[in-house]
Symmetry: C2
Subunit: 241 residues, 2 copies
């Protein structure tokens, strides 16, 4: 364990943390992973104990290769979720001089998109919980603000990035895909126009499951055609609505 007062500098240094906004989608609603704050860094005073907050923690100055590695490591430690470094997309920094009561702390926030069904089992329910976007509690520090900024970044990115790929399960339906877009963009689309446009892009593969499918109201299942998407993206394609 580190001895107190071991690290000295000629000029004052801030602490740096990485917080993560992890979005999931269960086919119905957009969700966010939050943790209940306990104590951290054994010896330091705990701030906002017992409140909900974004998962995150301090940069390990000697070990973390980049700040994304901090985000990765802390998310795993705090929620059990083991993603990949490249899943973390930087949102920005939050550096207000009073944002942490203990000392000057700059946080760099990332967001990540996960397939909820696939990861729900591996999140440590003791410490972490998935909250519906519509039902987020008040958060510690300036995490309310951070969450809003992360969401607006997601909202921007969805125009150009295949966020569907990352949030939906392998097999999904058009209504699910549409609902996801509507949840993130906070608008409603016409069902026919949405389907036409999506099919026109050629990035959906219909799954033939044998059932002859005479009636409706059992939605057709699709898979993303990743190869086609990558090809389109390479030639300047933009997924827009």
């Amino acid at each position: 364990m580190a001895k107190k007062g071991q690290y000295t500098y000629e000029y004052p240094h801030p602490a740096v943390t990485a917080d993560s906004v992890v979005f999931g989608y269960d086919g119905k609603e957009l969700k966010v992973l939050l943790i209940k704050r306990g104590k951290e860094r054994e010896a330091s005073t705990t701030a906002y104990a017992g409140e909900w907050a974004l998962p995150g923690g301090f940069l390990d100055v000697e070990k973390d290769k980049t700040i994304a590695h901090t985000a990765f490591r802390e998310l795993k430690e705090e929620t059990g979720l083991k993603l990949s470094i490249k899943d973390f997309k930087e949102v920005g920094s939050f550096s207000d001089i009073r944002r942490d009561p203990r000392e000057r702390v700059i946080t760099i926030t990332h967001y990540a998109l996960v397939k909820l069904a696939e990861v729900e089992a591996s999140t440590d329910a003791e410490k972490a919980e998935w909250f519906s976007w519509a039902d987020i509690p008040h958060l510690a520090f300036d995490h309310d603000k951070i969450l809003r900024v992360a969401f607006s970044r997601l909202k921007q990115d969805i125009h150009f990035e295949p966020v569907g790929f990352e949030l939906l399960p392998e097999v999904f339906t058009l209504p699910q895909l549409q609902n996801l877009y509507e949840s993130i963009l906070e608008v409603k689309f016409d069902r026919r126009n949405f389907a036409n446009k999506m099919k026109h892009y050629g990035i959906l593969s219909e799954i033939e499951d044998g059932t002859p499918r005479h009636g409706t109201r059992t939605p057709v299942k699709y898979r993303f055609d990743k190869e086609n998407y990558d090809r389109l993206k390479g030639s300047g394609f933009q997924l827009e609505f």
Copy 2:
């Protein structure tokens, strides 16, 4: 002056800097403001002395309200340019563990857009120089990479933000505006289509300077109609090409 070893922490802390990419436009070419590195922080070892670099410097932990204030202060100190805090748009952080040979330094980068003609005089030519985008020298640290990322962010933002307002002088011509868009987006547009689209948005006011203007090849002068632009933007307008 600070005494050596005055600031101690229980855990190691990184240094945090703010670097700025300042873009200017002279009616012909996109330019970037760079500084020649000398020594900084009186007592510390100077890295990359004599090389070109982005303007920037260390966060003042006790005084800088946010990291944007650091960017503002350092830009003024190093180049003489006095912008406004809200001119600084965050690009992102660069945190590679080896990016600074002296100690662990995380940098948070902003970009800013300026009307070159108006600020050229106030940049301290002793220390700072405007470089054409096509003619940027090799830079210190990972500043080459930072510059590329900042440019690609500008390229994205131009779709949705009135960067023309910020880079062009009050009075400008359509060819200048088009050239600016072409420089940033790295494409060529058809002159008629560009003019049609721009005029259709209703954000340009033609300036009547009395001259009857029988001939062509003396471009018509315009001003941005800021009010109209703001109104359009408020109702979801997007400037696209």
